[in-house]
Amino acid sequence: MNSTTLLVTLIGLAILAYLYGRKRSLAVAVASGGVRHLHSLPRYYGYMTALWCGLPAMIVLLLWSMLEPAVLNQQLIASLPVDVQNLPESQLGLYLNDLKLIAGSAEQAQQADQVKIDATVYLQHMQELSAWFKTALVLVLALAGIIWGASRISQHFQARNSVEMVTRIILMLSSGIAVMATIGIVLSVLFEALRFFEAVPVWDFLFGLEWSPQTAMRSDQVGSSGAFGAVPLFLGTMMIAAIAMLIAVPLGLMTAIYLSQFATPQFRNFAKPVLEILAGIPTVVYGFFAALTVAPLIRTMGESLGLAVASESALAAGIVIGVMIIPFISSLSDDVINAVPEAMREGSYALGATRAETVRKVIIPAALPGIVGGVLLAVSRAIGETMIVVMAAGLAAKMTANPLDAVTTVTVQIVTLLTGDQEFDSPKTLAAFALGLMLFVTTLILNVIALYVVRKYREQYE
């Protein structure tokens, strides 16, 4: 049996084990005078039996599947002639690949020499053997698990507690995986970035004013010096994010206040879903809205005022990103504003405050931590936004503070650096990781600042 069939069989066995365990416990219950005399409900005995059946077998299956290729390779290499064994690492790898191809297709086998055919036959034999042992071991373990689990069912056995302990361990492992993934991502970005900093000094990267990542692939190429100053990129990112926040924070906050405090229920029921649709539009669609509608509009308006406007501008991208994140801010703020207790509102009204005064002096301060949280989430969306910027703000890494100019952002550069055929060890591609690291550090700092702000200014109710 292959691993998938085995897995399905195992699940089937576990279901049977559940039914069996439940039935056994019911029999015990009848013998001892009813279900209420059992320590746990019958289904817990079922779960326990199923866990005994499935869990150890599953672990063995997983380990076997992980270790099998390595062990088989080792066995295979040991069986090969000495001169093949002594081949350098990369050629040995090719040789082994060959063998696997031959094992896979008859056509390949006709062209192969005798040594290879022998080795292939040996490989196939080993694979069969391994599969057979695996199947036998897993099934035996599963059946033994059922028997062992069922044998433990008795009136006073604490099945519920042991099932819950297993559940707790599974929960713990799950959260562990999330944490490990975070650490893993950070480390992988960090190590690649370190490799980049071997080629380009950190100082030049952080404070360099020119970004031109084209490096020469051959020594006779000209005009591809490679300059990796990240300042223009961060400037562009900050500018676009700032424009977006300038649009989104006031609009989003005012929307939330209006919807939660002033709007009639009818209008609220209409406006909220519409706003949520705004959040569901793919960013590509926003992108061409920005490039085809907003950017030309800004250009014509700018020209009528006598300003030089690039056809792709930071302003266009910023405005559209701002519109995109309005629903984030408005719906998160709406939630936290509604979470302010009614008693606060009534207390304020009873002192002769108007609705507007109540919102400004009581509700907003009380909801502030949540609002800051929403704004922060929106900032990281704005910083991370790529598609709209590619389409509306261009790719030119310019040192400029003029929002009417074309600019580029960190995320856009990461995309351009890594798309297409690339060498994976040139400074050009590695620069993407350094940029990613910088972006990560930036958002981390933003989060820390926000946490500090929230703690300092929070007005806690209850």
């Binding site: 009534e346 207390g347 002192l351 002096k361 806690q460 109710y461």
Partner: protein
């Protein structure tokens, strides 16, 4: 005389308010008040005067409409969309529900203290200064300081918090929070203070402090208090009004209500037959 009356008979039994609902020169007078939530009527034809500088207790079993009635005085029911009030409410001579009456200004004249202490999540000082700031009662910081201190003193809280006026109001104990809410209400110098079960969330010692405070406040304010505790009504009020199923059954001097009730329902309630 003391047999329990079945529910369908009760509306029959309360044909007219017994006792003395009207006073000479009332602070607030209400006539023929009906209150509806959508189609459901919560208050039936209540007429009652609140005398100047008296504490009047509204008592009655849960759901009898006494809180609803109380919230009509400062138009807090305006915030509930389905709520409709008819009848006449007058604060001295002014019609509370007149078109020209701004509920915001009305609430500065008729303050309210709620069942559960609800200090704002601000400092003790800012809690008390909130109302005066809204209504421009102080022209400078020194005046504001004075209002805050004197309000806290009148609420009997100043000695306990004078060293930490900048600490959060929500950090106080329940009883202190309620006195802070009273101080906050006093700070806008209202004429009338409405209290909706002000001590029901407090322990007996804090309750006793609040009751003493209510007695002192009577010198300067007219107080309408809703309470579930008959002992409390007996201790703090001069007049008592008994509500039942949205109707005003009996009004009279507190002593008379508790010693010699005229209406059978009142007697049943105060002797603990239901409630």
């Amino acid at each position: 005389m003391t047999q329990v009356i079945e529910a369908p008979d009760i509306h029959q039994a309360i044909k007219q308010t017994v006792g003395s609902p009207f006073t000479h020169k009332p602070k607030i007078s209400t006539r023929n008040v009906d209150v509806f939530y959508d189609d459901k009527q919560a208050i039936f034809d209540v007429s009652l005067d609140i005398g100047s500088h008296e504490v009047i207790a509204l008592i009655g079993p849960s759901g009898c409409g006494k809180s609803t009635y109380l919230r009509c005085f400062n138009r807090m029911n305006d915030t509930i969309q389905s709520c409709r009030v008819t009848g006449e409410f007058r604060l001295e001579e002014e019609d509370i529900y007149a078109r020209g009456m701004d509920p915001v200004l009305l609430r500065a004249r008729i303050g309210m203290v709620f069942q559960k202490p609800n200090p704002f999540p601000k400092s003790i000082y800012d809690n008390v200064a909130y109302g005066p700031k809204l209504h421009g009662l102080a022209s400078n910081r020194a005046e504001l300081d004075e209002i805050v201190v004197s309000s806290l003193q009148k609420a009997g809280l100043y000695e306990e918090v004078k060293d930490r006026l900048n600490a959060s109001g929500t950090g106080l104990s329940g009883g202190q929070q309620q006195r802070l809410c009273i101080a906050r209400t006093i700070a806008v110098s209202p004429e009338v203070i409405l209290m909706d079960e002000p001590a029901s969330a407090l322990d007996p010692i804090a309750t006793a402090t609040i009751e003493e405070l209510i007695d002192e406040l009577r010198q300067n304010y007219t107080i309408v208090i809703v309470t579930h505790s008959m002992q409390q009504a007996a201790r703090v009020s001069q007049r008592t009004a008994y509500f039942h199923l949205g109707k005003l059954v009996e009004v009279g001097d507190t002593n008379q209500i508790f010693t010699n009730p005229q209406h059978q329902l009142t007697e049943n309630y105060i002797t603990g037959r239901f409630g």
